[in-house]
Structure formats: structure tokens, C-alpha cells
């Protein structure tokens, strides 16, 4: 079934009546995603693009059987929205919202992990299973079904890479943007095992960036994987101590440097592309070596 989502996934949109929520609901519907419900407190009973709106996630779940949720709620209320979805029994929550206070996420992530709920993001573009289901804001037209999985800390960089892959004749299985914040619901190492187990995925592209040590931790896991992983790290020339757009993209002291990440991945046998356009060739080579 690809990773986490497929054509049977029933999606709920929290914040569906907002500008972003409504715009992307339309895009998701156009892609063929089953958007079955929306939630905006106080607007229950309305419809948005033919999708019924409920006041609470609990009501939406019991009425529609939604099993995944995507959050477009503004930052001050987003952590609460994640907790509401988790409490209502949603198993997969994708939080698009940018700018959530770190302390809110520390608490929220601890709780969803304890409940065994999968959270993607926040501050992420969402995820796609090519040709089946799109949850979030990725532009659907650049994707094409195929054997390459992708996990990325960046949004637009993901589009750039997917576009390169598609143009090189390499389709995608599932692509997940995990987000640019320092505290994320799912890190590389949380998701790599799902790609390792997924029969539709033959190789994985891992797109990291400066800040934190998630790439180094991922490298340790990759040593145990059967499927090939191809890496890319952005921010190779970023100066220390400066936050490069993403709240999580900052080199502090000796942690988070691009060289440490590249070294860790290479020592785990991962080919790391120095430039984006090298990625498709590395993927092709990895797929050839495998067969």
C-alpha cells in the first residue's frame, strides 16, 4: 500500500473554512484524495466544496470514519488541534502549520508518541503517495508513480527533486515532507523503517539540511537497511549561528554542521549528492546495483 497513505485513506481537514484550508482542500480533491470531512469550531453543519464541516474532530470521525487528518489551523491553536485529533482516534496527523512555539510541540510530540499516533510535521508540505493520495500542499502535477521513496526536511526542495526524478523517468512511491522545525512528530529514523518494509519502494532519497542531528541518527539506522538510500544536505555553505529560514536550520556550536551529516551518511554507505541534479543518476545507479 505504499507508505502510510493510499487511495483508501479517508482525510479530514482541520481548519477547512480558512483561506489556505479551502484552497488546498480543492487541490487535494482534484488529485483524487478522499477528503471526507472538515472541522472548524462554530461552523459545523456547513459544507465546503461539497465536504461536510463539523464542530469537533470527534463528531467528524464518528460521522465519516476519517482516519487521517491534515491541519491548516493558525499557529497559536495548532498544537491544540493536533491533540484534539489524537484524542478523537485519528492515527495519522499531518500538520502543515508553520510557526508553532517549540514548547507546544515538545508537549504535543511527547503525547502523540505515547499514544502511538503518527504525526508528520509541523511546518511541512505534507505527504503524497503518487497517483493515489495527496495530503498537504505539494503540487500534484510533478509526481508520477514509481519505485523511489523520499523523505525531506524541506518543501520546495522536495518539489525540485521530485521534478528532477520524474523528468529522469524515475517515479515515486511515497514522498514525505517531515518539516523544518526543531521538534518534529516524525524524524528520518521514524519513517525509514516504513520505506524499508514497503513493497512499492525500491530506493529512498533522504533530503536533510543543517541543524540538529537527525541525519546522523538516520545514518546509523541506514547501516541495517537492505534498500539503498541516496542523500542530499542543503545549507552546505551556511554560516554558523544564523537561522536560515527554517526554525530548525541553524548550526549551533559543533552540532548541525553539514559536513558532519555528509560524513555520517557516507560512512554508512550512502551516496551523497553534492548538487541536486546529481540525484537522479545516483538513484538510477542504486537501482541498477540492486537488481
Amino acid at each position: 500500500m505504499a507508505v502510510l497513505i493510499d487511495k483508501n485513506t479517508r482525510v479530514l481537514v482541520q481548519g477547512i473554512t480558512g483561506r489556505e484550508g479551502e484552497f488546498h482542500t480543492r487541490q487535494m480533491l482534484d488529485y483524487g484524495t478522499q477528503v471526507v470531512a472538515g472541522v472548524t469550531p462554530g461552523k459545523g453543519g456547513q459544507e465546503v466544496l461539497g465536504v461536510p464541516v463539523f464542530d469537533t474532530v470527534k463528531q467528524a470521525v464518528s460521522a465519516t470514519g476519517a482516519d487521517a487528518s491534515v491541519i491548516f489551523v493558525p499557529a497559536p491553536f495548532a498544537a491544540d488541534a493536533v491533540l484534539e485529533a489524537a484524542d478523537a482516534g485519528i492515527r495519522l496527523i499531518v500538520c502543515i502549520t508553520e510557526g508553532i512555539p517549540v514548547q507546544d510541540m515538545v508537549k504535543t510530540v511527547a503525547l502523540v508518541r505515547q499514544k502511538g499516533v503518527r504525526l508528520i510535521g509541523p511546518n511541512c508540505p505534507g505527504m503524497m503517495t503518487a497517483g493515489q493520495c495527496k495530503i498537504g500542499i505539494m503540487p500534484g502535477n510533478i509526481f508520477t508513480p514509481g519505485p523511489v521513496g523520499l523523505i525531506s526536511r524541506s518543501g520546495t526542495l522536495t518539489y525540485e527533486i521530485v521534478d528532477l526524478l520524474t523528468k529522469a523517468g524515475l517515479g515515486q512511491s511515497t514522498c514525505i515532507g517531515i518539516g523544518g522545525d526543531p521538534v518534529l512528530g516524525s524524524t528520518f529514523v521514524d519513517l525509514l523503517p516504513l520505506f524499508e518494509e514497503d513493497p512499492d519502494t525500491q530506493a529512498v532519497v533522504l533530503v536533510g539540511e543543517i541543524g540538529g542531528s537527525d541525519e546522523e541518527i538516520a545514518a546509523e539506522y541506514i547501516r541495517t537497511m537492505r534498500k539503498p538510500v541516496i542523500g542530499f544536505i542543503s545549507g552546505r555553505t551556511a554560516p554558523p549561528g544564523k537561522r536560515m529560514g527554517h526554525a530548525g536550520a541553524i548550526i549551533s556550536g559543533r552540532t548541525g554542521t553539514p559536513q558532519a551529516k555528509v560524513d555520517a551518511l557516507r560512512s554508512a554507505g550512502v551516496p551523497v549528492a553534492d548538487a541536486l541534479y546529481e540525484i537522479p543518476a545516483l538513484v538510477k545507479q542504486a537501482l541498477t546495483n540492486r537488481t
Binding site: 517549540v102 515538545v106 503540487p139 510533478i142 526542495l157 525540485e160 541543524g211
Partner: protein, 382 residues
């Protein structure tokens, strides 16, 4: 957001963290008046964000109010050159504080441990030195405890960490209260870092924050109107300050090629690509998702405020951002700002063709891929 020492101490004091008596001064005369009021010996401390202040002469002892005034006169308006800021940082204010008599210097720090996704409290008996150096040379000298997110730092954890770190036994109960107050301040002010170095045990048995560093999570500023007045002073670069006023993510990098793109990762990669082509990026600028023409025009204006910029590279991969909107913004910018420098533009994704059509015949240099764009901008600015 980084705030100054005097601001950090104001915040900490509100949460019951013990700090030396003192106040901030913007003029030498004020410094003298504060020293007079405090009585006795004082320290005059330059308020800058760069570390290594003491060694650079930014912290001076004064025995009399006259001397405090002299020190303040020497510091205010000067540029302090530290190992972390070799080009020097301007000093606008000094903190005038009672001099304390130090028995022991320790270290306390609270920050986010990203890998464990929770806050970590650090205690060390090796205070008053660069903590990163301590971490490197004596990792065992730093005791760490991790805080359960829904529970907070418990008194026993604070006590245990202080005992384990080798803090003077007679000081542990005072230090425990201090550390718990510091944690309360860290959480209450949505800090991303709270650091007391040195954390001082005085000869008369008090625990005091001799220095204090507090960084605030930018994402949480919406619920801290009280930090509004600190925001302006946290900016050191005037162009960065102006960009942030306009809601634009901009970081000045010191080169001569202006960079504008959408999405932090894509912009970072564009910087990397320009560097690989032999160029030096002047800045990082992310117009974000779904930018309208007006924002694009603003972005161009910000980038061109840097007098070193010899050319500008636009790299936009449209998802929600539309290529035609970006092109409109560039055209508006070129006309209203009378742009003299060459502009290379690479548009891909949503409505890229419409955008490129709008830009035809305008003298802008088109590029199809990111690497071609990087090569071209380096060529034309050489």
C-alpha cells in the same frame, strides 16, 4: 531572538531568579548616577550579543561613580572587537551593577535537546569558562537532567544535578531554589536557551546570576507582548531589521550576489550552488509560499539595500507560489526601484511559462535549471 544581558536579568528577576542590583545606562552621566545610587564598587558591562566580552575589555570594574562614568564613556559608542565578532559590534548601552564578591563560579544552562525532543538542564562546577570548551575537554564535568514535558523540572532532579555536579554542599538548597526559578523563567518566557555563566556563590553565601543569557523562541513572540520593546534592539544589521519589519526572512551573508527564492531549503541550496559556481552570496531571502507580486517587489528592494550587491538571482519553484505573480513583482520592482544590476531568473513549476512570457524583452537573463542560473549570475557579476 537574542536579548541583552540587562533584559535577560529583568525577565529572570520577575520569576524570582536572584540577580545583582543594577540598571542599564545609555549615557556616561546615567552610568555615574546609577553607580552613585548603588554605592561601593560597581562593574560596567557593555551590552552586546557577542560572547568573549570580558577578554575584549567590555567588562570593567569601577571604584567610584567618576570611574564608572569614564568606563561608560569609553564603551558607549565604541565597537567591541571579540573573538566571536572580529569586525566589532557597536555598544549602545552599558549595565551598571554592584560588584559581587565571588567565592565560587558555577554554570547553569537550560535548552532544548533536539534529539531527545525535550528540555535538558545542565549543571557544572566549571563556571566562568566557555561551556563548549568544557564540553569538549571535560564532558564528565557537565551533569545533565532531562525534563518530562508534561511534568516540568522536579525539585529532586535539580537537587540531584547540583549534588552530582559538585556544587558546595552548603549552597545546594539555595541553588536548588535558584535553578527551579530559572526553569520557571525558561518555560514562562518561551526561551530556547537560558544560561547563567558564571552562576556565582558569593562569600556571604548567596547564589547570584553574575551573567545571564536568554534567547526567546521567535515562534512564541505572539504570546509575549512584553518582549515587543526588546525586538528592535535584538537586530544588529539594519537591513535584516528592515526585512523583518516587512515580514521577510532575510539573513545577510556578506557576499555580492543577491539571492531570492521560495522555501528555506531551496534558498539554502541556491546559496550552495552559487558558491559551487565560484560566487559569494550576499544574503539568504525566502519569499515563502504563495507570495504575491507586492512581496516579491519588497524582497528585491531589501536585497538591493545592500550596497555590495552586484547582481540578483531569482530561483522560484512554484507549488502554491505562482510564476506569473513572481514575474509581476519583479517587473514592478525593476521599474519602481530603477534597478541597475543584472538579474538572472529561473522560474519552474506552477505558471512558470506565463511568468517567463511576461519577462520577455526586459533584459532579464533567463535560466532553465538552478545550476545554469548560478553559473550565469556568477559570470555577469564577475
Amino acid at each position: 531572538m537574542k536579548i541583552h544581558e540587562y533584559q535577560a536579568k529583568e525577565v529572570l528577576a520577575r520569576y524570582g531568579v536572584a540577580v545583582p542590583r543594577g540598571r542599564v545606562a545609555s549615557t556616561p552621566e546615567e552610568a555615574r548616577a546609577i553607580a552613585q545610587e548603588l554605592g561601593g564598587r560597581v562593574v560596567v558591562k557593555a551590552q552586546v550579543h557577542a560572547g568573549g566580552r570580558g577578554k575584549a575589555g567590555g567588562i570593567r570594574l569601577a571604584d567610584t561613580p567618576e570611574q564608572a562614568e569614564q568606563h561608560a564613556r569609553a564603551l558607549i559608542g565604541s565597537r567591541l572587537v571579540t573573538p566571536q565578532a572580529p569586525q566589532g559590534v557597536p555598544v549602545h548601552k552599558v549595565l551598571v551593577e554592584e560588584a559581587i564578591s565571588i567565592a565560587q563560579e558555577y554554570y547553569l544552562g537550560i535548552t532544548l535537546d533536539r534529539a531527545r525532543q525535550r528540555d535538558v538542564v545542565m549543571v557544572s562546577a566549571m563556571g566562568g569558562m566557555d561551556i563548549e570548551q568544557v564540553a569538549e575537554e571535560h564532558p564528565d564535568a557537565i551533569v545533565k537532567v532531562w525534563v518530562e514535558p508534561w511534568q516540568g523540572l522536579m525539585p529532586y532532579q535539580a537537587r540531584q544535578a547540583l549534588y552530582d555536579a559538585g556544587i558546595a554542599r552548603e549552597a545546594v538548597s539555595t541553588a536548588t531554589r535558584f535553578l527551579l526559578a530559572l526553569y520557571k523563567a525558561y518555560v514562562g518566557s518561551d526561551a530556547s536557551l537560558a544560561e547563567i555563566n558564571p552562576f556565582v556563590l558569593t562569600t556571604d553565601g548567596q547564589c547570584l546570576a553574575a551573567d545571564a543569557k536568554l534567547n526567546i523562541d521567535d515562534n512564541a513572540l505572539f504570546r509575549h507582548p512584553e518582549f515587543g520593546e526588546y525586538k528592535e534592539e535584538s537586530e544588529e544589521d539594519p537591513i535584516e531589521a528592515e526585512a523583518h519589519r516587512r515580514g521577510i526572512q532575510y539573513v545577510r551573508l556578506g557576499g555580492d550576489i543577491g539571492i531570492i527564492g521560495n522555501g528555506a531549503g531551496l534558498v539554502m541550496s541556491t546559496l550552495d550552488e552559487v558558491s559551487r559556481a565560484g560566487g559569494k552570496p550576499a544574503n539568504f531571502l525566502d519569499i515563502g509560499g504563495g507570495a504575491k507580486a507586492d512581496l516579491v517587489r519588497n524582497a528585491l528592494e531589501i536585497v538591493l539595500m545592500d550596497p555590495n550587491v552586484k547582481g540578483v538571482l531569482f530561483n522560484v519553484f512554484g507549488g502554491i507560489t505562482r510564476g506569473d505573480e513572481v514575474a509581476k513583482g519583479i517587473l514592478e520592482g525593476i521599474h519602481s526601484l530603477q534597478v541597475q544590476v543584472p538579474i538572472v531568473i529561473r522560474l519552474a513549476g506552477t505558471r512558470a511559462e506565463e511568468g517567463l512570457a511576461l519577462l520577455q524583452g526586459t533584459g532579464l537573463i533567463p535560466a532553465v535549471t538552478m545550476q545554469e542560473a548560478a553559473r550565469k549570475i556568477v559570470e555577469v557579476t564577475r
